[in-house]
Amino acid sequence: MNMKLAEALKIVQSAPTDAPPLQVALLCGFTPLHLETFLRAQLCKLFPGRFPVVQTGLYGDLIGNLERVADVSAAVVVMEWADLDPRLGLRRLGGWEPSQLQDILSEASRSCDLLQNAMAAVARNIPVVACFPTLPLVPVSFTPLARASEFTLELRSRVASLSAELSHIHGVRIVDPQRLDALSSSRRLDVNSDLSSGFPYTLAHASALAEVLAGLVLNPQPKKGLITDLDDTLWRGILGEVGVQGISWDLDNHSQIHALYQQLLHSLSASGTLIAVASKNDRPLVEEAFAARDPILRETDVFPFEVHWGAKSESVARILGAWNISADDVVCVDDSPMDLAEIKAVHPGAECLLFPRENPQAAYELLERLRDLFGKDKISQEDGLRAPSLRANAELQHDMEKASPGAASDFIRHIDGKLTLSSQKQPLDSRSLELVNKTNQFNLNGRRFQEAEWQNWLNAPDAVLVAASYRDKYGPLGNIAVIAGDLLNVNGVNGDSSGKRRLCIRTWVMSCRAFSRLIEYECVRWLFAKLDVEELEFDFLPTARNTPMQNFLQQVRNAPAEPHCRLSRAQFMQSCPRLSHTVEESANG
């Protein structure tokens, strides 16, 4: 349902003017008019704590607007055909003669080159959300409308090439026309409006487009894990009733939608999403089904299996424990509304989605919804390590529990932990920012950053960034921690310029997969040694979920964590347990 203009104006007018501004550039060649209003309204909805300010440029000068953009957190570029050649718009008369078509193509190619360079230059500093022509082409070609002409095909091909080229550039997010088609299926071009004011969109189209654009500005973090039921969800049939050979996921048994669901889950697993099973079933029967029927979702894709006859909410609680994440980060899929309601009652943060077993169309829409919830910009090395490292963690915890009480810390010293630290600030490491923006538990203050804000901060000469990766005998964990702060020279008491230095840590996150290995202590030891500081100051703030960070600060300082609390080198030396990691600095650090 599209937002109405009146609703958008009300949202914009009620935005808190005293909130921190969110500066976004809306760059287009037409009059932005209602698109600006809708975009501001959508940004207000998606960034509730911010006051969105949308900067616009000059009419008819998209490339110039790109070149002039400055002091914004993101740029939204909306291109239409007239930006490639004014003859492709309604407000300029350059001629639509057949003899001119080749010249229009040449001009469009030149414009594509200029736009590519301009957008790539902007994307070096801030995220760029780009949308390519959404309006129907004017009737410039000589063929009937139903027949695609060489000219229109060639023109669309050049735009597609531009779009593909830009998609390779870090920081560029391109609107998928398929998504826009789904949201904006009605008439898009408003000829009256274009001729009278230079704004070419119908309100419905502007509203839908703004929704998609704002979503890409936000670029939400994907959910981390999916918990699936088995019977009539992962496969068709009740395993306990029809037996291992009676369940199906194929065309012959009219159960292909379950195969597609498995295929999606397997793909999500390969992309770093955690997959678990919560099923009311007999465990041996489920093991037999996975072994004998070889489903598309492999047994190795799943960790853990919670298969028993207890409440589903108990299974979910154990899975969250094994994954060490909160309910807010997971999606539960089940064909039973009752089981979903029971999970939701105990874990209100979990997103609970019904698998509509009798309705393949609705089930297909569920697959699309899941892809949206777990969609990510790119697949990183850590995505491939996540599930194996959780399994390894479970193994490590099991081995630690087997060790006698008090011997746990000794045990940690014998797992061959190797910590690699890098203090390189350029080029921007998107994985570090991603970790900062998605980590909740070992997180100094819960602060999140826009990409431009993060980059601007790190550009300061005294800003320090440390990224840590880790491996031990249980396997690699990949990049697991980020520390960022500002180095300060501190004058001693009574104006004594002692030259002592302090690191004010503004952000510190560590993946929950790296807990219980004393890595946080090793990081602090490295900071004191490498940066030659006498004191650390922590820009700490309690959050609903950062108890592990609070506990660490309490232990290392022997005092409760509080905003701007400090830790001296001497204090740390007293509280630090014996460490035995191998520490390396990366070659580019």
Partner: protein, 97 residues
């Protein structure tokens, strides 16, 4: 028609949030500094959306006060109402049901 006027007051309140409700019926382009061409386009778009009408571009320059817009919309509404009755009147009672 009171409801009609009230809906138009709401449209003005959305386009010109600085106006008090009681000021709106007397407002005109000449009396309101913020009613510039851009605000005028926004107002007309909000009205078109609210009343599901399409205002002809030729008519827009004449719609420069609350009173004139109200008058325009009422005429448009009455015309549509007349056409609808006229059309229904030609149908047989069975078809009309």
């Amino acid at each position: 028609m009171a409801e009609f006027e009230s809906r138009l007051v709401n449209c003005f309140a959305i386009a010109f949030p600085e106006l008090a409700a009681q000021e709106i019926p007397a407002v005109s382009m000449g009396s309101l500094a913020s009613w510039d061409s851009l605000a005028g386009i926004t107002l007309i778009s909000v009205i078109e959306e609210e009343f599901s009408v399409s205002i002809a571009p030729d008519d827009v320059p004449d719609l420069v006060s609350f009173e004139l817009i109200l008058d325009y919309l009422q005429k448009d509404y009455l015309q549509k109402d007349y056409l609808q009755r006229d059309c229904l009147g030609r149908l047989s009672p069975e078809d009309a049901q």
